[in-house]
């Protein structure tokens, strides 16, 4: 296997990261709609769309800001280089930014109830699907693990077998999604499922 593993779409070879990130948003959203139809919602449709919009916009900004803060010296040195500044993002930054934006929006709309339970399982599945793209992108994605002698170590193209940490996270996230789905079907306090998602993600990281 040669990394990155390009995916053919007609005559064009698509970069796996773009393909799987797009898929993750689409599938995550469909799962959310399915969960909402089955479980109902504590919010009106209008308010829910504001919460969704805030989550996406907050995630976009948070993912970028935390990416810059991950290496602030480099970011400062390249502060006038648009090409550098536009590259890269952080999943944790996306989650923090999304959470902050949702809480701010809820405050403005005077919503006091917990609203994250419907997002928990779709988020876990979405991140897992995105990780397939990270794995197929290889070394350029910088999400691989440390070198290893274990038999399942993956050579991403530089002759060194490394832990496929993207696949570890993918397996963990699918297990987490299954657990969250089971949890949401049982009697629970409002907000517990999203708390469980955050704890599950934190435990893995």
């Amino acid at each position: 296997m040669t990394f990155p593993v390009y995916l053919p779409l007609g005559p064009v070879l698509m970069h796996p990261h773009w393909v799987f990130e797009t898929l993750s948003y689409a599938i995550g959203f469909r799962l959310y709609l399915w969960r909402r139809a089955r479980a109902g919602d504590v919010l009106s449709t209008g308010d829910r769309w504001w919460v969704i919009t805030a989550a996406i916009v907050g995630a976009a900004l948070g993912s970028k800001v935390l990416y810059w803060l991950g290496d602030p010296v480099q970011a400062w040195q390249h502060r006038t280089d648009v090409l550098y500044l536009m590259a890269g993002e952080s999943i944790v930054g996306g989650l923090i930014g999304g959470l902050w934006a949702v809480e701010w929006t809820k405050h403005r709309l005077r919503i006091t109830r917990a609203t994250g339970d419907l997002f928990a399982m779709p988020l876990a599945v979405g991140i897992a699907i995105g990780r397939i793209g990270c794995f197929l992108s290889g070394l350029g994605d910088h999400t691989h693990g440390l070198p290893t002698m274990l038999p399942w170590g993956v050579d991403f193209g530089d002759g060194i077998a490394r832990h496929p940490t993207q696949l570890y996270e993918l397996i963990w996230l699918f297990m987490l999604a299954a657990w969250l789905h089971g949890l949401s079907r049982r009697a629970h306090q409002e907000g517990d499922v999203f708390k469980a998602f955050r704890i599950g993600l934190g435990l893995h990281r």
Binding site: V57, M86, G140
Partner: protein, 93 residues
């Protein structure tokens, strides 16, 4: 969940992205590389217009399209730049 107003905003946002074609020819494709930023040229006026016309659902749709475009651009931009530097970008056929 009804998509009416929000769906209209999403479709409007996607159609506005067609403006990237003339933008790309004006900027020698640079605007496409930074579509997350260059989209502000038409997204900001569109959002302000919808707000002014009191169409909050369309504002939401436009913001969702703009944020997803920014995310996808940020995620893939670095990889594409790296790919082009190392000759990884290939078009089959």
């Amino acid at each position: 969940m009804r998509l009416h107003g929000v769906g209209k905003g999403v479709v409007l946002g996607l159609m506005l992205h067609l403006l990237q074609i003339p933008l790309a020819s004006l900027t020698y494709t640079t605007s496409l590389w930074v579509i997350g930023l260059s989209q502000l040229v038409y997204m900001v006026p569109a959002v302000l217009t919808c707000r002014w016309k009191r169409r909050p659902d369309e504002v939401k749709g436009l913001l969702i399209v703009a944020a997803l475009t920014f995310l996808l651009n940020a995620a893939c931009f670095g990889l594409f730049v790296m790919a082009s530097n190392f000759g990884w970008i290939r078009i089959a056929g």
